[in-house]
Structures are given as structure tokens and as C-alpha cells.
């Protein structure tokens, strides 16, 4: 399975291949020359195992994401089916409002479902969503982990908001509100408020975080 290179992410190299007639993606975590070899091996192995496990679980929760077809822990490789379509970050600016609403409410539901089942994605950004026939697919569970801690759920949502602010600044407030609507529809209003409160705390914690700005960004749910 040589295959065409479809992406060099920060962490892994993705190649396109074919398995039993299906288009598949091979995600290989290559060794990092800048890391201590022992640390490098432990990180690659551990993240590969967790990623595969959580992808399978996400699928069983009804969250659209790639299907895991094979895992090789020694080589730190996952083979999964290929989800065709553009990354949300690339096309977001061209989508009409009602499309954006639908997509972001849906994404909020995915995050809510994961959180409700003790999983945090760990890297929720619009680059990690593929629009497959208009339906948002969640990809890259490479930093996901099992956690029942409010702190981790807060960080997950905080990261998503920060990603929106840094890449789609003008729309970030609107998009985040839609996301939180979907989120609250799964986890309930009370839990959504708790998580938002946590996000506020996380943002306040950074020594130099501006609180004035925070109020504007997080008005939803107050």
C-alpha cells in the first residue's frame, strides 16, 4: 500500500490507498527526530491506540467519522476509510448562513455526544471537519482521550472557540453560539452552562487573558 500522499499533518503522514476495493487512508505517526526516542515511541504508540479505540466508539455513538479498518501499534499506523470532501475551514467563508447554522449545530451535537460518553476530542477545529456530501465528518482523533473531568471538557470547548477566533474571526461569535445550541441539546442546558463557566475560568486563568474581551465572546448561555 504505497499510495498518494494526501497530507502531512503536524503529527502524522496521510497516504491514500486501496484495500479490498475501498479507498482508504493510512495514517502513520512517523518518528520525530527532535524528540527523545523513548518519549517519541511511547507517545506514538499510546496515541495510536487511543485514537483507534475512540474512533470506533465515536462511530458507535452515531458520530460521522472515518471507520477504522486496521491498526498497527508497532508502526503506529491506523488504516481507515477515506472520507471524501473539503475541510470545513477551507469552504466556511463561502457557505450561506443557514448551511453554517446546520453544520455548527451538528458539530455541537457531536461534541456533546463525545463529552456525555466520557470522551474529549482534544483538537476541535474547523480543519478537523470534512464536509462529505454536505454532512460534517469529524476527523483526527489523534489527541482525543477518555476523561470525565469538567476541566477537560472545558478545554475542548475553549480550543474550538479559540480556533474560530483565530481563523474565522468575523463569524466566530455566530458560529460558536450555534455550536453551543447543538451542544446544549445533547448534554442539557445546565451542563452546557457548567462547561461554559469552565471555559470562562480557563480563559481567565491565563495570566494575561483579557476579561473584557471574554465577556463579549461568551455571552451565550449567560
Amino acid at each position: 500500500m504505497g499510495g498518494e500522499l494526501i497530507g502531512i499533518g503536524a503529527e502524522a503522514v496521510l497516504t491514500l490507498g486501496e484495500l479490498y476495493g475501498f479507498k482508504v487512508v493510512r495514517k502513520a505517526r512517523l518518528p520525530k527526530p527532535y524528540r527523545d526516542p523513548k518519549l517519541d515511541e511511547a507517545l506514538r504508540r499510546e496515541r495510536t491506540a487511543t485514537e483507534a479505540k475512540i474512533m470506533i466508539e465515536a462511530k458507535s455513538l452515531g458520530i460521522p467519522c472515518p471507520t477504522v479498518l486496521d491498526v498497527d501499534l508497532e508502526e503506529a499506523v491506523i488504516v481507515m476509510d477515506y472520507v471524501e470532501g473539503p475541510r470545513l475551514s477551507r469552504v466556511l467563508g463561502e457557505l450561506p448562513r443557514d448551511e453554517l447554522t446546520r453544520i455548527f449545530v451538528e458539530l455541537g451535537k457531536y461534541a456533546g455526544l463525545l463529552h456525555a460518553h466520557g470522551i474529549v476530542h482534544g483538537d476541535l477545529t474547523t480543519s478537523n471537519v470534512i464536509l462529505h456530501w454536505g454532512r460534517p465528518y469529524l476527523i483526527d482523533f489523534g489527541l482525543s482521550q477518555y476523561s470525565r473531568q469538567l476541566e477537560d471538557r472545558g478545554v475542548d470547548v475553549h480550543l474550538f472557540l479559540r480556533a474560530l477566533e483565530s481563523t474565522h474571526f468575523s463569524l466566530s461569535k455566530f458560529l460558536f453560539e450555534r455550536f453551543m445550541e447543538g451542544y446544549a441539546s445533547v448534554v442539557g442546558e445546565d451542563e452546557a452552562k457548567r462547561v461554559l463557566e469552565k471555559v470562562r475560568e480557563i480563559r481567565r486563568r491565563g495570566r494575561y487573558v483579557s476579561e473584557r474581551r471574554l465577556k463579549g465572546a461568551l455571552r451565550h448561555g449567560e
Binding site: A10, E11, K32, Y34, V155, S166, F169, R207, S210, R213
Partner: protein, 336 residues
């Protein structure tokens, strides 16, 4: 332009022009006899040295206060008592000599001085110091944050580790010297969350190991720097992949770290990105970066009335208007 820096333990005064000539860079750094920086003691130090550092900067530059175009000051982010000293001096000078007062964001200044000295145009910036660990890049009219620490800064993590074990200050070079003699990697909490890092768990675990005394201190130091730097390099790598910038620059006090430089350089090689480091003299907090950034800002009409010149302890980089960046990107064609 005259620039005053007093956000933390360094009081600095610089003189610079908007086309990037640094005419003076004088400073005096407060070193606590023991313990960490106490903001009030540092502020006391700043008020004591303020006049002398200013005199030195003027002498170095050969420019008189009558001749400067404006007075730039780092309004934040930083420690309140320290910021107030620099801001008071700046206000007094601006009002006495009737010069415009120019607000400068400390983090933006670290970015600008690094761009100036490395010749970078539109880089991803890794800003690491005692008080900051943040990945910055220009997007949609402002500098934006693409990753940062969720708790303490990298430099703070190193300083605290060294201080708690009585190794001295600043911590980074001391720990790196010990780490160079490390042989065995000991597992420590590696905490990357999306594009962010967290050092507090790592610091606690490393200190606990050191106090247990079961491992050689050299091995603990080796493992500590490996984990801490690898976390920073990993989030920088994520940001590089995400922003698709073609150059990466390292700035801030911890930019002096050879080991961190080496790791970032190797990471950039993987992505075909250019890597550059701010020169040592402009790595730590300094007045020259405030003067230079102030000069850029004034050229684009950024000033503030004296009566509105409040310090801004929590001034985030995304809140700062940087009109000069857009025009610099528009004017020169991108080198391929």
C-alpha cells in the same frame, strides 16, 4: 522614537527608528536575592534605576529628548506595579517635552523585534519567556494566538524548578547544563491539548522526582527539558501545519535556549519552513523593541492621550491594532 519597557523584572529604555535602526538599548534587571520576582520589589528597583537607564540610552544613541518623535511605552501585559513605573516615566516625558505618547503591547514588540532582526516577513512566532508561552501569527488584520500555555509559562516552569531545588536563577540555562549530562529518560507528564500546552503537572512531577532522590538530578533535568520543549515544538508544529506559514521565528527570553532552537530547527526542516532566532541581546525584555514597535505604530497614527494612558496588565495580542503589518505585507512582493 524612545521606548520604555517595564513589564516584569527588566527596566529598559531604547531608541529606534521605524526603518529599523536601533540607536540605543539600555537596561537594568532586577534579580531577587531569593524567591521569585516580587512585583513591588521589582517596581522599587525600576524607579531607582529609571533615570540612570534613560541617561544611558540617550548617551548611547546621541539623540536628545527634544529630538525624538514620540515616547513609546509597554502598557502591558505584565505586572501592575512594574508597568506603572514605566508608564509614569513615559507620561512625564511626553507631557514635559510635548511628544506623542505611543502605547505598545509587550508581546507585539517581541514579535516585531524578532521580525526585524531575522528579516522574516509573515512568520509563525514562538514567543517563550518567564511570563509568556504563546504561538502567534498574523491573520485577518491582527496578530492572533494559535497556541499558548493553559497555566504557567515555560520560563516560569524552569525558574520555579531551579529555585525550589536551590539551583539558582534564571533556571533555563542551569537546568540545560545539568540536562546535558543526563543519560536516562524518565517518564514525565506530557500535556498537549489541541494547540495548547500545560506545564504545571510537569513541574509538580519533576519536583517530586527530584525530592524523592531516586534518580540522578541530571536525568530529571534531561527529562524535564525534553518533555517541556517537545511540547512547545509540537504545538508550534501544529500551528505551522494549520497556518501554512513558510517561516518560523523564535523570540523572548527563553529563545536563547540552544536546545529549544535545535529542536525547532529540526521540526522546521521536516516542513520545509525557514527557521530563525532573535539575537540574544533582543531576546529578553528590552527597550529597543518597544521603541521600534512604537515607531512603526506612530507612523500609522497610533497614539494615546496622556489622560487615557492606563496600564493594561492583561492586554492580549489579539486586541492590538497593527496597521503597519498589513501595509508591510502589501508593499513588498512575497519572496518565493
Amino acid at each position: 522614537m524612545l521606548g520604555i519597557e517595564s513589564t516584569a523584572h527588566t527596566y529598559g529604555v531604547g531608541v529606534a527608528t521605524s526603518d529599523g535602526r536601533i540607536l540605543a538599548n539600555a537596561s537594568s534587571t532586577y534579580v531577587p536575592a531569593r524567591g521569585g520576582i516580587h512585583p513591588r520589589e521589582a517596581a522599587e528597583h525600576h524607579s531607582k534605576v529609571a533615570a540612570e537607564v534613560l541617561r544611558r540610552a540617550l548617551y548611547e544613541s546621541g539623540v536628545s529628548l527634544e529630538e525624538v518623535d514620540g515616547i513609546a511605552v509597554a502598557l502591558g501585559p505584565g505586572m501592575g506595579p512594574c508597568l506603572r513605573v514605566g508608564c509614569s516615566v513615559a507620561r512625564a516625558l511626553a507631557s514635559y517635552f510635548n511628544k506623542p505618547l505611543v502605547p505598545v503591547n509587550h508581546a507585539v514588540a517581541h514579535v516585531e523585534i524578532a521580525k526585524l532582526t531575522t528579516g522574516a516577513r509573515d512568520p509563525l512566532v514562538v514567543f517563550v519567556s518567564g511570563g509568556n508561552t504563546v504561538i502567534i501569527a498574523y491573520a485577518e488584520g491582527r496578530y492572533r494566538v494559535f497556541g499558548e500555555t493553559l497555566d504557567i509559562a515555560l520560563g516560569n516552569c524552569m525558574d520555579t524548578f531551579a529555585r525550589e531545588l536551590g539551583l539558582g536563577f534564571p533556571g533555563t540555562p542551569i537546568i540545560e547544563r545539568l540536562a546535558a549530562r543526563g543519560r536516562e529518560f524518565i517518564e514525565l507528564p506530557y500535556s498537549v491539548k489541541g494547540q495548547d500546552v500545560s506545564f504545571s503537572g510537569l513541574l509538580t512531577a519533576a519536583l517530586r522526582l527530584a525530592r524523592e532522590g531516586k534518580h540522578r538530578l541530571e536525568d530529571i533535568c534531561y527529562s524535564l527539558v525534553e518533555v517541556a520543549y517537545d511540547m512547545v515544538v509540537e504545538v508550534a508544529e501544529r500551528a505551522l501545519a494549520h497556518t501554512e506559514k513558510r517561516e518560523l521565528i523564535l523570540t523572548g527570553g527563553v529563545a536563547r535556549s540552544r536546545l529549544l532552537q535545535e529542536k525547532l530547527r529540526r521540526m522546521c526542516e521536516l516542513h520545509g519552513a525557514r527557521f530563525a532566532v532573535v539575537p540574544n541581546e533582543y531576546a529578553g525584555d528590552n527597550g529597543a523593541m518597544i521603541a521600534y514597535t512604537g515607531a512603526l505604530a506612530l507612523e500609522h497614527g497610533v497614539t494615546m492621550p496622556i489622560e487615557e494612558s492606563y496600564i493594561r496588565q492583561r492586554w492580549r495580542v489579539e486586541e492590538v491594532d497593527v496597521p503597519w503589518v498589513e501595509s508591510s505585507l502589501a508593499s513588498a512582493p512575497r519572496p518565493c
